[in-house]
């Protein structure tokens, strides 16, 4: 079942950039302003996403979150991100990655973009999680190879830290 590919490595970067992000949308019966605080204020973020948080909501500011594990054998997971864009009340962007190598998403490696738009007196929340290592699974020339190397380097670095 060998099929010679007509595509080659030249387009690998473009293909990788196109790798599909995770996209989630939800309607919330609260104003964008109210929802926004749940991403930028630690006492609110810990009500839905993390058990502890250190947030400095401005570009380049820390966005650290501690996530409890699903069971006794795993976690806690340390999300060490950075705010990229903070535009209340409609947009907040932060990097997303964990110091725990077993998560497979090292710090700085992926990005979460949240957009909040008014809708029916409430908010339409759109969350886009892009640049995931797993996003490069498509069978194209360069992405698979590049992703493996990146992942391995990140794991090795994280283990040296530990």
């Amino acid at each position: 079942m060998t099929q010679p590919s007509s595509r080659n490595a030249g387009a690998s970067e473009a293909v990788e950039a196109m790798a599909e992000p995770i996209v989630r949308e939800i309607h919330i019966d609260a104003t964008p302003n109210t929802v926004f605080g749940f991403f930028t204020e630690a006492d609110k973020l810990t009500r839905w996403l993390a058990s502890e948080a250190t947030l400095d909501p401005r570009p380049g500011g820390v966005c650290h979150q501690v996530h409890p594990g699903e069971d006794r054998s795993s976690g806690p997971y340390h999300m060490r991100g950075e705010f990229v864009e903070v535009s209340p009340p409609e947009r907040v962007v932060f990097t997303w990655g964990f110091t725990n190598p077993d998560v497979g998403v090292p710090p700085g490696s992926s990005v979460v973009e949240v957009t909040l738009l008014p809708e029916d007196g409430g908010t339409r929340l759109r969350l886009v999680h892009r640049d995931l290592p797993a996003a490069a699974i498509e069978d194209h020339a360069g992405g698979w190879t590049t992703m493996l190397d990146r992942l391995a380097a990140a794991v090795a670095a994280a283990r040296e830290d530990a």
Binding site: M1, I26, H27, G104, A135, I137, W144
Partner: protein, 122 residues
């Protein structure tokens, strides 16, 4: 995910994944690419990759054939999709509760309405 990460940390295992990314290859053909590695060592690498779900093994007579299984990485994606669904549902619940509380404050004590908006934004 631990097995996946362990599997790809070893450079020879990454090389094996590249070899079988498009072509299904027999163990012998894979081993032939590694002059400096013993056949049992290659078998061990193949086993680690297979157990991590990154390699599919198929028997054809006495031969074992291998090809890459990139879906192995898709498990992380599935995990994150479920993670965000669960978390966003929790966010909806909390944000709506917060909104009701704000609205109640506003109705009962309109003069305090602007208190929360008083933070400076440096």
């Amino acid at each position: 995910m631990q097995a996946v990460l362990d599997a790809v940390v070893e450079p020879r295992r990454r090389e094996i994944l590249r070899l079988v990314r498009r072509d299904e290859l027999a163990a012998g053909a894979i081993a032939a690419n590694f002059g400096d590695v013993s056949r049992p060592a290659i078998s061990q690498h193949l086993r680690v990759l297979r157990d991590a779900g990154l390699l599919v093994e198929r028997r054809a007579g006495t031969r074992r054939l291998y090809r890459a299984r990139p879906e192995g990485f898709g498990e992380l994606r599935a995990f994150l999709e479920e993670f965000w669904d669960t978390r966003l549902e929790a966010l909806r619940h909390e944000a709506e509760r917060e909104q009701r509380s704000k609205d109640r404050d506003t109705t009962e004590q309109p003069e305090r309405r602007s208190q929360r908006g008083g933070r400076g934004n440096g």
